[in-house]
Symmetry: D2
Subunit: 496 residues, 4 copies
């Protein structure tokens, strides 16, 4: 592969495959374009599936190419060969393939790219035997494949009528809105309908400005509580999200009996799987635009929205609420937030409003280890824009090696480690289920400043609330990566 | 799972799943017993396959249990659920299963254990939905499954006759000999036959004392050179290894035309796949014992063995040869070596003789990241025996998080990082193929002492040859983990 | 399953699973609605994949439900249990599932139906353990999922402009046009553009009236000859078919250098896979309708079409051409043709014009054994319409058991067996490749009249050309199934 | 494939793939040697899995080679190509492979053969692209792989001691005894131990002479009744069968509390899966021989065996008991019985004693359609020995096409169709579960004599008991295939 390596190819190195795939995931999302990842055969691919799972849930168009041993050696099951190479990354890839001949690799790469880019986007996998790189073949003709498609006009009409005649409509918005560039049209649609906007649970991107007068908050990932939040609405339209994503089981209705539910999705599986409602299948940008073009401005009064949470106090030890508030206060203009702090998600929702498209990325899968390398990928994609990663200590230790790439490439990233010395979200979940002590949830004795320096990053540590703003400011002002370790209250974590 | 957690269960924590699986792999190998690994559903399992691949190649009996979302939620494709849970760890598990009912989990666990322990041993996978933990069920009756089996007496007789009548017989020995406790019988067999002993390529364990007068060296993982080494023998018996394991392709004969090849294996696939020779299927311990009982002492003269390499000099910068030699000189009595330094494997073979069963562990798969966590697992299994891990910088950074577990459990491990600031083996392979510069092979700017301290380990750094022995002695004398970073000559790596 | 069997469920029996699935395939296609197939566990499912493969290629919305052993027995690997039940029908199903709990079966059935109906339609599989039938569960709420979607307006505009400005445009039409009810709009589109219409190769349905002045013929399934047919066109639009389906390999261009190719498809994989051209993704009915609404009537002169083949003579032994011509001459008004006579496909194309939507069904996969049971399914779906199946002797013997169902249900079907005493298409292919004699291609000694009577059908045999019309007329006039065996010239078969 | 077809290759044709695979299954079993089956790609393979499932349960060493489209065409998803070719026959093959290069096909064929022959034997699958047949490659070196292996001597000793010291030992015998040629040693073992011999449920071959004084009968495939039969024994040894094979679920113990169970098996999965007992792993022939060599003759008194059923009367309509009795009375010396008459299995067990090795074959899977083609395969393998197939009407109609091959090859087979005009075993099972009427269970209106003649066989029909012996005698005396349709009492079927 490296023979005659093109001079204009930029090779972004990383220290482990889960790091590399998550870097590419962040990059592809921030660029809204496919990213190519190159991995070693089984030995390398094997470290990646955790991040591939996340990329799949993030609907990130990755083209993952893996080496494979020389074809001639495969009958001997050689060292480092991948057996059943195409099965290894399953089931979290859209397509997995090893061409039957060296000559077919370029066309397979074309199919891989177009497959990754079809809605819903996602990772694809191509296994390429080593000797295929030396084969001569035909050039592939460049071609286009339209990735947008519009809703059924008849179903769209029915939806528009339902929304127009609704008493108290609500929109439930998901990550696909930001993925497909529908942010502005969605605001216009909500305003024209005077409809309340809820954010779908656990979304990897923000779909609506949280400071907007129509924004009502984040739905919880539990069946009964979620239905309860939507109970007052007679018509609900879910856009670019599943119906619905749950985390912890609770029995109950999916929606309250009086609610009519509609669903606009670019994901045929989500449409078929939804337990209730009428689904339309369309790419989100076109779907929202055509709906906006169709509905009339409403005379409906403005909805009532619950008041915002109060500003938290700066007591020690530092609380999640105060950390998120301070992070928002010191946040550089135009910076991007990448988040993976499950213990502090409520605090994030309450105290850190994201108000622009492309301003937020998080892990849609729940698998840990996304945020650190994804921040590197986002920074690479949007250089010289500042990126801020706010990450729990447990999450950060999954892929701490990403700090090295940030340092080597001198990327403008502030890494904020909210260190509660353990897996706080797991402890909180255990407490919710009435379990006293869960073994293995303490992560004590890690010195993040030392780790950061070991990988070549500058770093500082904050223990008192009064020092937090200053430390963040210092990190944001640096022109390369800087890690701020924030010692948090280890016993104050909550979940849902 | 953690409700009513038994007081006598020891839970060994780790910071990432690839770390945890490799820890368990080392533990299971060192104990010659199955180890149970508990992982989170897709999000956690996804980080593990790299180490599962290695455990499979290591033939390590791991029982990997993964959580799964509550059964009642699965139709909604919930957060953190594993879709096609049993496919995810494929193809590198022997058995993968999610029971159809909660009541069947205990019996499935029994089947998992007995399957992992069948020859060739290897990892198995069991997906258990969260709510299954609360179901009442029947107790499983303890039972035994014999894991040993003997060779076909007729084929054994033919083999014994061939060995007795051979002019210049050779044994090629593999990891299964040490796995199955056949070390002493193998020495007796080699001596009775006065046969040369070659070590099979890339084995994860040593099968014969390298100081023994009959030991001829390590076979290279290339077809033609390997056949060349064996060319002088009229009868070759491969025991507990494939016929043969190659890494880099070269055309040529599998064995020289005049050589008769026999193969004693506990792996039916290896038997069916071998391109040449007569295969016997038996567990290695029984196979070697029955062969030993059958063959007569020979009158054949002692074979000629090539002389040992000379002792390397202690020039700066430190060479791999000198590092391995010094490591051997300072090695604590009875300690165990865990190795993953691909750039220095020739030096290891030449200058570090392993002379007892259970004295050596390495990664059989070629996937990186095994040695650091495996050393933790071996130390856990054999406490208070000293364990020494000698690891390249690139390898160590795959799973550097294992240092934290070593520190938390205060395990007696010396971590020796041979730091050549890059992926030396890849560079050497590139040079062998005539490629000038390979991008992404430099790993500069890592401070291992700082990383070790960040995880709670003591550490030191050696730059001059004259300081190496002292630094190693200091580390070996410590009663907890200690990391020694050895700055190596970055341009002196070789391969094959 | 049969406890409390609803009185208004019609159970159509069959003697073997490949027969039953193909019956359901014909039924679902003719009804444009999903059909439910119920199979026994592994023992029964195992006989079905040949027909499932065909249903998948036919894009037929089948919901296949298979029994599975009682959950409690599964750990013992009991008699007739299906292991890896969801893998068995792979890869030719769109979705394969066994619910994790009995309570989830109804919702899974809903998801199965909606998945089968998404474009491109196809079979889905649901494995249901026996004891699940006795569980109580929640009712599933009826819901709708729109299955139509429209093309990207921007890409549609580009396509319309290309067609309008073309000198000699051509349409290549495929089965999806008839599947999606776009027959009439397509005629209007062709006429508005004055564009030549070619039929795509090996399609399972007809997409355009073959007597129409713009119909140019059937494209051959070979790369170079196909490109040659299209070479005179500057713009080609492929609708509802892959780009392109080939049977025998020939090197060469996919299309001639000067041709611009566009592709309107409801199949995202076809879009990504196509080696050349610009693909639009839309359901075919909406796509054609919106294109028709957009393009202007052309001033372009009418294209030149090659003249029709001459009427064949009625010499003995009976030729394929004469058989097809006579079949057309005697064809009952409004009857449906089901075809599987590969040796006589050229004759069919030349001498049997299908001129209305829903008038023709064939096997899109090339797997044998479709037509006999499919004719039964079509007749069931459209009773009392007459169905005529024209089938080769080799094909008919795959699923000859379907005659019994036709007889039991007294369906109005004429089965025409074109008996050339062998696999004529294989012989012709062999001759094309220069192979003298292919063993196993003779099928002599079968008496179809006796077989038909054994299954309860009336039957007759024709040996002379002059008797053919009369025999067909007698069969068509019967009010139940009637088989006509036509003894053909065994050495006159051709292919392409 | 057919270019340069070797003159000494015998090609046995068949009309459908499920027929062909079952023919090969019968052939391979009767020859105790691998059989090669050649199938068309997906279209042909798809009809085979029902019979592959049975061959897998029968542990029959089949090498199934399937064509695949030309490699160069695969990127276009061509007509008749197999996608995911290696997944299609899963999970009922031991190995499934498509070589990465044409040159590797011969070695893969060698691996396929050796894999099929490893214990437990079973089908393997090899997909070979069409153009691979034209490639030049290296010849494969013939080699041997021992397929026998002996039990662990330590475990064998424990088993021998348990048997010697038992008060009332029993042997439970399975098909692997006859597969591995251990029939005579098993008789000697039973006699030396004076142990009762039970036959395991649903076995595809007989393992012990049913006229022997120690033979106690057939165990039922239900948990509680089976345990009840064995309850009086203090030591039970299961040989060459699973522990245990069940068909219908019943709760209860696997064995009575006082019984010690041992298990000698050549199937590692059976060993790991068994819920109770101590398992030894060995090939059955060697295992039985070594056990026989080890145990001492017993002084234990002869066990009490229940008396044989009385001779049935010849009343009309003909009963299963009378049919089986008459079949036994008229059975040609040295003939082989192939059976698939599930409604009459009790009658078979009671009235048709099989007393020699290789004298009986049945379907081990429960999938229908085995016996007719298997009888063809057995007759081919053992020509000119007479073969008698006794088959239910429902079973026979699955693969009735096999009659044609029997006729073409003029094989000496008597086909006895026990025609009860329906799926009697299903009706009986329904009655057992208290279900009144099961739709689709009647198979009326089939005239088997007409079908047989349609395929070229002679045939006769018997309606009265008094005519049965004469009709069977006439058929047995014929020198080619002859079918006897026996009209049975349709309402007298039983099960268990």
């Amino acid at each position: 592969m490296f023979r005659d390596w093109p001079a204009d190819f930029h090779y972004a190195p990383g220290l482990q495959e889960s790091v590399v795939v998550a870097m590419a995931d962040g990059f592809a999302q921030a660029r809204r374009a496919p990213a190519l990842v190159n991995l070693h055969s089984a030995g390398g691919v094997g470290h990646a599936p955790g991040s591939v799972f996340t990329a799949w849930r993030n609907q990130s168009p990755l083209v993952i190419v893996a080496g494979q041993q020389t074809r001639a050696m495969l009958p001997t099951d050689p060292f480092l060969c991948a057996r059943s190479a195409v099965d290894f990354p399953e089931p979290y890839v859209k397509w997995s393939h090893e061409p039957a001949r060296a000559q077919d690799v370029p066309l397979a790469l074309s199919q891989a790219i177009h497959t990754a880019l079809q809605k819903p986007c996602g990772p694809v996998f191509l296994s390429v035997p080593e000797d295929d790189r030396d084969a001569l073949t035909e050039p592939v003709v460049p071609r286009t494949v339209a990735t947008r498609f519009a809703p059924d006009p008849v179903a769209l009409e029915a939806l528009a009528c339902a929304l127009e005649s609704a008493q108290r409509p609500a929109l439930v918005v998901g990550a696909a809105i930001d993925q497909d560039g529908a942010w502005d049209d969605l605001i216009a649609l909500a305003e024209r309908l005077n409809a309340v906007v809820w954010h779908s649970p656990m979304a990897g991107r923000r779909a609506f400005p949280q400071s907007h007068r129509l924004f009502a908050g984040f739905l919880p990932p539990l069946r009964q509580p979620l239905a309860h939040r939507l109970a007052g609405h007679d018509v609900v339209l879910v856009i670019g999200a599943p119906v619905f994503l749950y985390h912890v089981h609770s029995e109950g209705e999916y929606v309250a009996p009086g609610t009519r539910l509609f669903h606009l999705t670019d994901d045929a599986e989500q449409a078929a799987r939804a337990p209730v409602g009428s689904s339309l299948f369309a790419s989100i940008g076109l779907g929202v635009a055509q709906l906006l073009a169709r509905v009339q401005a409403t005379q409906r009064p403005a909805p009532q929205i619950a008041p915002r949470p109060v500003v938290p106090t700066g007591k020690d030890p530092i609380s999640g609420e105060f950390a998120m508030h301070t992070l928002r206060e010191t946040f550089p203009a135009n910076a991007v937030l990448v988040e993976e702090a499950p213990s502090h998600r409520n605090a994030l929702h309450d105290h850190f409003r994201v108000d622009r498209s492309g301003g937020f990325y998080a892990c849609a899968s729940g698998g840990l280890g996304f945020a650190l390398p994804a921040a590197v990928g986002v920074a690479l994609a949007q250089r010289p824009r500042k990126v801020v990663a706010v990450v729990g200590d447990g999450s950060s230790l999954y892929t701490i090696q990403a700090l090295w790439t940030a340092a080597r490439l001198a990327l403008p990233i502030t890494f904020v480690i909210l260190d509660n010395s353990g897996y706080g979200a797991v402890k909180a979940l255990g407490a919710r289920m009435g379990i006293g002590t869960i073994p293995g949830c303490d992560v004590q004795g890690v010195d993040f400043v030392s780790l950061a320096r070991g990988f070549g990053c500058r770093a500082s540590c904050v223990q008192r609330a009064e020092d937090l703003a200053g430390a963040l400011g210092e990190a944001h002002a640096a022109d390369g990566p800087w890690l701020v370790e924030v010692r948090m209250n280890p016993n104050a974590d909550t979940i849902y």
